[in-house]
Symmetry: C2
């Protein structure tokens, strides 16, 4: 019998009424004879209000304790959803990330799933129960509760789907799939009925609020078909799957990331400290550029980092500025525009035409990074939305 | 080095400001060279609002899921308290009931602690850390999260104090110890600087909102000195300890319980069903009376049960009335007045004088139950507070 893994995001479980509606959706699927595993996020703004309380106490809380704190959100949802399912006569049991066998490394706040041992999930499914699992959380080999970073519930769902050899994994949210750009910025963004694993990973890594990149990686490796759907507006969906090369062509989407920072370091002796500090604060480096040799007067380097997952950027920035008063410069006025597609390294046309387009619209660019699947361009943050509109209009229309 | 176990109740940790103040209190004790284990309750009304959400979904939720749901409250508190301690430069780590080794039976919602294996608590204390533990919760041998019923955080604290061979266990709340009666009813209730384990257990079992009875049992067995104190108004306290018989004399306190129900069953065939149903709903039977033989026409029996821990008494009552339409009668208009003291079985004076006193004040009684340490009298619930005042005035003054 096929197993279906579903993930319901925070807006889908925002209140008791929505939980009841979801319990009806799950009951209907269960009644078709499928086994259902539902992975849930925290209700609505719960995570934010927990973070807010922690911030009132400390600008720099222990990562382990933040994980202990935040993991309660998903646990509340999963218990309430089981109660709602029982009320409909559907047998259900909630399992924590730990009980579901989601083992992670001990990088608190942004842990990576290293293994999934879903023994108890399988036992409960065999008893005919719907299994509801708290997303976003796992347990480290030290037996501490960990969380998986932004979009971590997607990772929980896909990792479980892979370990359970599920028929498919459905990711429910308040949007009905993936679009060619952010519909909040470009009204006629086009819905994508299908997209490849690689492409959606590129979109996620370039800042699009689509699926979590690690989640897609799990799906790709286990060849699990992923469906991105709207919870309460069924109809359209995006299927994420392997797509053979010849079907792929040109520009697929235009995405952006606002929360990036460029850090210039003009003293090569300070590079090591910067790298350690970034690692310590779990700030991923997206790009690194260097000119001149270390020790030379002409030495210059810069890092592009994403501050999306940084707990308190202002605090981190202060430390940077304290430690590196000499030869340090932080630029917070940039944003990254990314064109997602295929074959960009075989053909410079897209890059050249985009340059011309931006110039024509008086949008300067401050750096470019290109792979076969993505062209990323740094522009002024204030002009980022304008750049997205212009590029989407030109390449996708 | 001595270990001090402290328990902070819900009103002591009601908000972020109070958590900060408690972190300062703990830091001060830690600085005197003591090892500190702090057991915390859920913040303020958290537990009630979680129960409220569950009630919006189901009148009769799964006990296991309720435990999963409610245990999140203490986890939020403990993580935030550790963050506050860290902010003061005190190393601290939070542990769940499960991580702290609190093993219970699987009677969800009202589990009993069957063993405490505080290996990890000891490890963390040896590293010099303050250990903050979520009260009210444990883990069953089936590896499910359980909760310990009303006052369960007291039980967590005392069970840990016993297992850690702590120097003492301090129970902090919004009252500065134990009084001769409820100060909300009798203004000149007297503070008790000392009380025996046995006496406080009798008070708890007779409905007084003092320490949890199982908690006191643990303290008694392990000979742990228990201190009941006010968190934010230091000064007075009550020490609960072994008190040798000769110090004990006469009437010590007058307590009461409002949430009791008398169930009459006049058909002996229905007794078994009633007993099973009470067990199923984990409703403790406080008293059972029978007259006539089973099967005889003159057969009558009645149960006195406490509804304090019953999730939804109205629902339970409906089932009773549905199943037992014939020969069933539920009396919800009674309350129990209890006189707590010593030597009542050797001397009927207290009982007789109390009878006279109630008669003189036109308070009828509907049943009496006596032990050496307690005289409990059923009176009309509407007259219960009056009865408490009258008895306290007469016996204690």
């Amino acid at each position: 019998m096929g197993i279906i893994v579903q993930k319901y995001g925070g807006s889908s479980v925002a209140d008791v009424e929505k939980l009841k509606r979801i319990s009806e959706i799950i009951a209907a699927i269960k009644n078709t004879g499928k086994d259902v595993v539902a992975v849930v996020s925290a209700m609505g703004k719960t995570t934010n209000s927990l973070i807010e309380m922690a911030k009132q106490i400390s600008p720099n809380p222990s990562r382990r304790e933040m994980d202990m704190l935040l993991s309660t959100g998903e646990r509340t949802t999963m218990a309430l959803l089981c109660i709602a399912l029982n009320e409909l006569g559907v047998e259900a049991i909630s399992l924590t990330g730990s009980q579901a066998g989601i083992i992670t490394n001990d990088r608190h706040n942004n842990a990576r799933v290293i293994e999934v041992r879903p023994v108890r999930v399988q036992d409960e499914l065999e008893k005919g129960k719907v299994v509801v699992i708290g997303g976003f959380q796992g347990v480290s080999y030290k037996r501490d509760i960990t969380t998986l970073g932004r979009g971590g519930s997607d990772t929980s769902a896909v990792a479980l789907a892979a370990a359970l050899n599920a028929e498919r994994c459905e990711i429910y949210s308040d949007v009905d799939g993936v679009y060619t750009t952010d519909p909040n910025i470009v009204e006629d963004a086009k819905h994508l009925p299908e997209i490849s694993y690689q492409q959606i990973q590129e979109m996620a890594e370039a800042g699009a609020k689509v699926l979590n990149a690690q989640a897609v990686q799990f799906a790709k490796e286990a060849k699990i078909a992923l469906y991105a759907r709207s919870t309460f507006k069924p109809g359209k969906e995006t299927l994420i799957k392997d797509i053979s090369k010849k079907e792929l062509t040109g520009v697929l989407a235009v995405v952006y990331e606002k929360e990036i920072i460029r850090i210039y370091v003009h003293d090569s002796d300070k590079i090591e400290w910067v790298l350690n500090y970034l690692e310590e604060n779990q700030i991923p480096i997206k790009e690194f550029q260097q000119s001149g040799l270390a020790g030379d007067a002409g030495f210059k380097c810069s890092f592009i980092v994403s501050t999306t997952n940084v707990y308190d950027w202002e605090k981190v920035k202060e430390t940077f500025e304290d430690k590196l008063r000499e030869g340090i410069y932080i630029n917070e006025s940039l944003g990254a525009l990314s064109i997602i597609g295929e074959g960009f390294s075989r053909n410079n046309n897209v890059l050249l035409e985009t340059f011309k387009l931006l110039q024509k619209n008086n949008i300067n660019f401050y750096g470019v990074n290109t792979t076969s699947f993505r062209i990323s361009i740094l522009v002024e943050r204030d002009l980022l939305e304008e750049a997205v509109k212009v590029c989407h209009g030109y390449w996708i229309g």
